[in-house]
Structures are given as structure tokens and as C-alpha cells.
């Protein structure tokens, strides 16, 4: 696992045929299952290949190394999460700022829900390689546009400073991540959701006030 920092290659061969795509899917699914069941410690290439019903050689035909497999899994999961968040935002008919934030928060919490051990392991591994930046980038984007997420008209909120985007996105993710990692029972409770919403709203509110444009 040498450390390649810049968006390392993941696939060795891009599957062009249906069967190959199935194989890749099977391997990723197996990887998730292994991770879910035994955490990072059980995540060996041999174990993944076996569970996928594929020979170890085949696994290496599609993933350059163990790391690439992990990354591919992480990307797949992040993508799914983002799709969900997007869907949540577009599906809100009550356009109160708060209700939009709530929708986003809920989507994020749920994205981190099922298969939590697998997610935990993936997160760990990603962090361990300093690839966290790449992974949170999309979330970052969402937060950056939070002005438009919130306001009916964009003028109301001045564009956020980079530090503000950073603090808000990482604070939110950090709280959710901690709840997942520590396996907190209230992860999906209403109370927890409320507090996350409060975290975002009060922060935005403070900025708006400072700019003389209270929400």
C-alpha cells in the first residue's frame, strides 16, 4: 500500500462486457460484506475474492491492488450518498430554509446508516491515506452553496468564506461521523437530527446577522 496521493488509478481494466461488470459488482459487494462483518482487520484480498466467488487472480485483474479496491468501494458509497442527498433536497415541497437543511441532514444521517461497520471501515481506511479531502469534496460543494440551498433568493446570504465552508461542513460531518463511529444509539433519533439542524441554522444565522441580513 504505497501512498499515492493524487486520485490514484483504481481500475486496471475497464469492464466492457456484461459479465465483467457483474464480476466487479460481486467483488465490491463482497468487499462491503467482509468489511461489515469483520471490519478492516478481516478485509484481506483473499477473503474478498473467496466471498465473491472469484479467484484471487481475477480480483487482481480488475483492481491494481488492495487499496484500489477500497477506494472504488468508497467512491461507490459516496456517490450513492450524494445521490440521496440531492434527491432529498429536490423533494422538499415546504421551502422553509430550515426544512431544506433538515432534509439534507436527514439524508446524510441515513447515508451513514445501514452497513455502518463497512462504512466505518472505509472511512478509517480513507482517512488513513490522507484521501479524506477527495472524499468530502462533494459535501463541501453542497455546503458552499448552502446560501442557495437556504435562501429563496440568493442575495440574502453573502457567499461564505472558505473557512466558513470548511468549518460548517466539517463540523456537521464530524458530528455525524462520531455518532457512527461510536455507534451512538441516538444516531437516527429526532432529537439528534434537531441538534444537527440547530448547528447548521444557528451558524448560518450568525453569519447572516453579522452581514446585517438576518434570515
Amino acid at each position: 500500500m504505497a501512498s499515492k496521493r493524487q486520485a490514484p488509478e483504481t481500475k486496471r481494466r475497464i469492464p466492457r462486457q456484461a459479465r465483467a461488470a457483474e464480476t466487479v459488482a460481486a467483488i465490491l459487494e463482497a468487499a462491503a460484506q467482509i468489511l461489515e462483518a469483520g471490519g478492516l482487520a478481516a478485509f484481506t484480498t483473499n477473503a474478498v475474492a473467496e466471498r465473491a466467488g472469484v479467484s484471487i487472480g481475477t480480483l487482481y485483474q480488475y483492481f491494481v491492488d488492495k487499496n484500489a479496491l477500497l477506494l472504488a468501494l468508497a467512491r461507490q458509497e459516496m456517490g450513492a450518498a450524494l445521490v440521496e442527498v440531492g434527491r432529498a433536497l429536490s423533494g422538499v415541497d415546504d421551502p422553509t430554509p430550515e426544512s431544506r437543511v433538515r432534509a439534507m441532514v436527514r439524508a446524510m444521517v441515513h447515508a451513514f446508516r445501514g452497513r455502518s461497520r463497512a462504512r466505518k471501515a472505509v472511512v478509517q481506511a480513507i482517512l488513513a491515506q490522507g484521501l479524506g479531502i477527495e472524499m468530502v469534496a462533494p459535501i463541501n460543494g453542497f455546503i458552499a452553496n448552502i446560501g442557495s440551498v437556504i435562501g429563496q433568493d440568493a442575495q440574502r446570504l453573502p457567499p461564505l468564506e472558505p473557512e466558513q465552508i470548511f468549518v460548517l461542513s466539517r463540523a456537521l460531518l464530524g458530528a455525524i461521523r462520531a455518532a457512527v463511529m461510536e455507534e451512538q444509539p441516538f444516531l437516527q433519533s429526532r432529537g439528534f437530527e434537531n441538534e444537527l439542524v440547530r448547528l447548521v441554522m444557528s451558524y448560518i444565522d450568525s453569519i447572516a446577522h453579522e452581514a446585517g441580513r438576518p434570515l
Copy 2:
């Protein structure tokens, strides 16, 4: 690395002689250096022993296993950080709520400053074992008492709900941690500090308002 969740034993032998104490210190220092230089991947017991100028056997005379060494290092670092935070809080003569929060935030940021790779690695390792809870417990405590940290008189702010303590502490730590992990250049900037303060203050403020007792 078997998983003992509750404050696992760290030391195998308590050093009674001066030489032994030096040895332990040397090992911990070496561990920090190795972590700093090569991250978790380079952190092998043999490497640590070698850098400490000590035989591998000696290392194992003082630490039951690799994990215990890591934990001991984590505890030492956490302890130092907490001491700093405590000192910061008691050394503020301008007792504005905001200035007290600012002191705390600044202490935390600085605690995460020097030797950041080592700290990063320690944090990762701790998280990887689900011992994050133990490690953040003291921070948790600080936040839990944030009412008294902030208010001149404690009645002003109702005691925080567990979820609120959780969200606030993890959000703050999460933002700082991310800045460390991603090696953000603004880590020690005034602007970043301001936003962290805002994060805490606005959240508290929101709670206070809800309780009908604005700060």
C-alpha cells in the same frame, strides 16, 4: 491487537528505577517520532525500539503489546492537551463568555499543532479501535460544563442535553481534526479561530434563546 474496550492495561511493569523511567520516556518519544515521520504504516514495534536505542525485548518489558504503546502515547498527548486547555481557561482575565470560548478553542487548536502527523496517526489508531470515546471523554466534560465556562452565573444556561453535548463537542473536534488531517494552511489563523468561536457561540446562543434566557 485484541479489542479490550474498557481502559485496557498499558504497562507491563511499572518502572521503579530512574533508568527505567528514562527508557520508557525514550520509547514514547521514539514512537512519536516514528509516527511523525512515517505515519501509522511505519509504526512497527521493531522500528520504535530501534529508534529508541533500545532492544525490542526492553520495549515489551514496559508495554504489553503494540497497542498498549499506542494508547500510552495517546494518553500522554491527550493529557498534555487538556492541561493546556485548562491553563488557558484559568488564565483569562477578560471574563466575557466569548473570550472564554476563544481561549478554549485556541488551546485546542494549538494542542493539535506541532507534531501533527504523529497526532494524526494516534488519532487514527485510536479511532480504529473504537477507543475514541475514552479519548474524547475529557473534552466532552469540558463542553458539558460549558454553561459554567460561559456564564457568570450558572443559572443562565440550562444544563445541556446529552445530544447537545455530543453534537457540540464532536462538531468542534471534527472541524479541528479535519483541519489537522487535511493539513489546512489556515489552521492557526485568526479567521479560522473566529469561525470556530462562532460555531460554538451561535449554537449555545440558539439553545439559550430557546430556553428564553438569551446570553
Copy 3:
């Protein structure tokens, strides 16, 4: 070497290809040679692998751990011995009780002959794990049926008590084992054989007399 008492698993992978079978054979042969040459002290997995001309990884592909290798060797050797004893018994055309016992004794003595250091080591190791019971079980069975081995008609001798089976089988094995271990020159002499036969016959005789059914 954890202690699993009940017929522990020995093989990790059942060899399906010809090459694999050869590899396993080579490893077992190497193990026997190492044991023969240097006793239990020289019996390290690395040494065995090296002598087998195989990598250490390959060894572990076929044997879960060091112990499993030892056990597999023991079983192989025991099996060979038993086959010999069985063949000896069925090949006696003079059906005198004594001549049948003599055939059995002779087979046992010969079974413990060649590669005695290896056998010695194996025996030691097996005993050291409390797996002696499993290993002597077949011999036990032979002795248990000694009535039928000896008598033309089975009624003549009452079925032996467990303690009697135990004493007779262990006494016989003990005498042979000691001769092997101490490398006694008379191991394969006629005189020694005679005395072993006497040991068995007189004991059985005594039981038969007691039961009022002298042979």
C-alpha cells in the same frame, strides 16, 4: 499450539491438483527428516519449509499451524503402523493364541523401528498435547478385542474391564517404546519378543483363570 482436544483440524486446503499433493508429501517428508535429524527442538516451521524446498507461505497453505503439521505426520505414521499390525494378524495361519499374539507383538516392534528419532519426537509431541489418547485408540481397540484375537471361540474369555485394557495396552506399548527410546540393542531380538509375548499371555491367562476359564 493451543490445545484442542477433539480431533483437531489438520488440513487447511485439500489439494486438488497433482502438484499440490506432491507439495504436501514433500512437506511431510521434510518434517520427518527434520525430526529424525534434530528432534523436536529442530522442528520449526521455517526449517521444515526450507528442507521441503517450499516457501513458508506454502506450508501454511496446507497446515493451519505447526501443530497441525505434527498431527498430520503422527496420523500418517500411526496409520502405517496399524496397517502393518492388521496385515500381520490376518496373515497368521497357525491359529494358536500365542502365535497370534506373537504376530501382533512382532508387527508392533517392527512398526516402531525405522526412523526411530522421528517417531520418538512425534510420540513426545503428541503426548505433550494430551493427544496420546487419540493416537493409541486403535491399539486400544486391538487389545480390547484380544479375547477374539486369542480364543478360537470368543466365549472363553470374558470381555476385559477398561482398566485391564488400559494396563495391558500401555504396558506393552510402554515396553516397546522404552526399547525404542533407549535404543536397546535387543529391540528386534527373539528373546525380547518372547518376553513381550509372555507379558501379554500371562496377564490374559491370569484373567482367564480368575474367571474360571483357563485358556
Copy 4:
């Protein structure tokens, strides 16, 4: 643990003072306890020293190496056993041949003061070094003189042949040893004792008959 075959040196320093004798005794007692509690696997020099309440350095002042300690323990226990056997023989007032044999058998079974696990471990270790011969020599002597042990007048039984001495002593020891090693519950039962007596008596009987001098 290099193999020195001929009655290796055991003591490094012969204790001349009372305190030293106590120390040696404490170490041997600790060794026996460790062996009894955890078998050969737990038998480390450090563990013994600790349980004896002595520093590891002190242990090495009295025993050249680990092996010497084991040997000293074995000799001590063998000596004790022999004394007991002797006492048993001289203390029988019913001078039937059988009752004398029974006394001997019982003393042998009860050897090692009921510390059967320790006994097992010592036996294992002794065997593993090929020092079994040295250890059984005294027993051999007893059996060699079994004619006098048994008969009121020595003429009755012709002197035993070397093979006969060997077979009888090893058979008896083998049966007892196996019961110890396999931790058979009937080890100290009357039934087991009876069968051991039968083993010896019937064998002797057979020889006597052959010589035309039935007991």
C-alpha cells in the same frame, strides 16, 4: 537447552548456608507449583523466580540454566518417590509376595505427592532430553531384585534375565506413566492398582513356572 547426555551438572553453587538452602528449596517448590498449575508451557525461568519471590539473577546463581532446574526437580521427586517405595516395602508386615508388590505399586502410583500435572510435565521434559534412562535406573534396580522382594528365600526365583527386567520395569512404568499422562481418573483407584499388581505377579509367575519353581 543443548543436550548433554551424561548426568549433567545441575547446581552452579552448592549452598552452604541455611538461607541459601531455603532459597533453593523455594525455587524448586515454585517450579513444581508453576508446572502443576500451567504445565510445561508456563514453566519459564522468570515465572519461577517471581513465584519463588526471588530475582531472576538469584535463580541463575543456583541453577546453570533452565534445564538444570528441571533436572534438579526431577531428581528431588524421584528421590522422594524411591524413599517412599523403600519405606513401603519395609513397612509391610504381611509378607505375602503379592502384598509386597502391591506396596511397591502403590508407592509408585502415589509418587510426586499427588502433583500429577507437575509430574506429567517433568516426565515429558525428561523424556524430551533422552534422560529417561537415568531417571528409571533406580526403578530398574528394584525390579531386578524383585526375586528377593517377593520370595522369602531367594532360591525360589531364578535371577531375571536383562530382557525380563527391562520388560517388566518398563511395562509397569509405562502403564503408570500413561495413566499420568492421559490424566486417567482411575489413576489412584483400587481397580487400577489391582491390575498393575496382576501385571507384575502374573509375569513373575510365568517365569517361575517355566523354571519349575511355581510360587
